[in-house]
Subunit: 335 residues, 2 copies
Amino acid sequence: MATLRDVARLAGVDPSTVSRVVNGDQDLVIKEETRQRILKAVETLGYRPNAIARSLRLQRTRTIGLLVPDICNPFFPEVIRGAEAVASEAGYHVIFGNTDDDPAKERRFIDTLLAARCDGLILATAMTRDQTIEYLSEQGLPFVLVNRYTLGTDHYVVTDNLQAGREAVAHLIELGHRRIAHLAGPLFTDTGLSRLQGYRTALREAGITFHSAYVEECDFKEASGYEGARRLLQLDPRPTAIFAANDLIAIGVYRAAAEAGLRIPDDLSVVGHNDIPAATYLHPQLTTIRVPLNEMGRSSARLLVELIERGEATETPVVLKTELVVRGSTAPPRE
Amino acid sequence: MATLRDVARLAGVDPSTVSRVVNGDQDLVIKEETRQRILKAVETLGYRPNAIARSLRLQRTRTIGLLVPDICNPFFPEVIRGAEAVASEAGYHVIFGNTDDDPAKERRFIDTLLAARCDGLILATAMTRDQTIEYLSEQGLPFVLVNRYTLGTDHYVVTDNLQAGREAVAHLIELGHRRIAHLAGPLFTDTGLSRLQGYRTALREAGITFHSAYVEECDFKEASGYEGARRLLQLDPRPTAIFAANDLIAIGVYRAAAEAGLRIPDDLSVVGHNDIPAATYLHPQLTTIRVPLNEMGRSSARLLVELIERGEATETPVVLKTELVVRGSTAPPRE
DNA sequence: TTGAAAGCGGTACCAC
DNA sequence: GTGGTACCGCTTTCAA
């Protein structure tokens, strides 16, 4: 592949001149004839600037990393697309990786990105007791948290999970439910924890006693929601409603309910969280909390780019609005 | 951030020696004492090799690109994970991008990757009349096609889509259906086209006349499946079964059927293709063609790495087996 | 308006 | 067993 020197030789000029033309610096004045000669040489050789060499020289790669727990959770593709759109508009490209919520994997991936001298990082993987934040701060790498919050930084894009959980459960209470269970997310995540707190808050406000037997901790996957729901549905008295910490867990509830011969919403009301596309594939469609997934990705990328280029972000943290979307999976209890 | 020279200075050795130690070349013998001194210097300075500089020197980035039409289609996250797993095991990292099946976007993304001097490319975006293949060949960049095939290369990982379509439709015919419609994928994709051919083949083999009114072209999304199904369900006589070119389209059929007051499978049988996780979220669960998504990703990465490192691939092309998975969405026609 | 040259951070060949 | 050094491809300061 042709280099700057090849072009220079062909055009009969110095490499530095080619560089000036190729980069199209407005301030520099280049004789039109020279410019044309260079442009022609570029054309004939099919010259393509080497971004690696450029990065080395400029100490800037225009690359950002994006860590997600699991791209197969439909929550994340939407976030990724949002982030990618903004990043690429700003001239950055995104390297992403799955951590499976495994700190060792996360660390390994970050080390790779550090070696690659990426310009910044978006993390959708924060844990409530997180070592990564400190590590990144030490390394001086700009980063932004998305979705999951943790202590140690002011740069994050989240929603109010406590409020969302409270609203979800308040909806069930308004319908007349009293025996409301919760399939919590992992309690090492801020999102899992806050939604649980929202659940407890709503119960307290309604004067309903909290029973720990009505809470099961799951990971954010369908299989785990299914397992948790099976346990909840064997309780006596059985809950008449379940608030699932995310939609995948809620999908697990559907499966467990079907197996137990319970109909939704007649025998069991279900509320999810996130409003992933699959929420409307279900029958009945899932009542859930709508989260602006794409906008989350966009905001986090916007924040990060600002952080990289200006050293500080103007509007941070960002707290996005969520909204309860009532569909067919919730109804008054029958009894 | 510390450099090789910093380490050398601190350890009182030459940069080249540090390089030898850091890269742990087995053939070279380094005095144990020197090695220890260097390792300690690396430690105290928190030295981290600069992958950019290394890439420039070695003319190799250990980076591969992965192009998908749309990461929000649940087909792709699984493929991506498979590819990522193999790639990272082999010491490569993956840069991925969405093309939305827009050739201009695809071209732009490839140019970025070319500038970044990535070592190779996996394309899940091939079209039946594709300019990209030729372009990449010109550029001399190793690449592998996955899922979608097109002319111009022997390096691809696919399934037999014609056979799968034929099997899906044969299943419906065996159940007694005669009025079978098809919601085809985009006919600029090999997958869309081949599944349509499979549909026609199965009809022909059963002596059923092909009616073009029974075929609607969709893109591979739920919304488009819904629209297509609405049109099909208004036909007179109405089809008693639909073969959808993928599961998302099938999900659209469910929605259209529900709106039309038709029950699945009593009033309408549905078969999909791919067996994405959501196929089992549906009620009834979707009869579909299982595609080894993860393995597709793995194979394609394996092929590409081989292509990059050895200049040729031993087992290529790869044609993976699919399998009809009969679930609750297909039954004999009632009439 | 253009050229010369140093240097970004490594690697590897050639000495000693 | 270790040091010296040229070079990967580009940018940028300084000089002419």
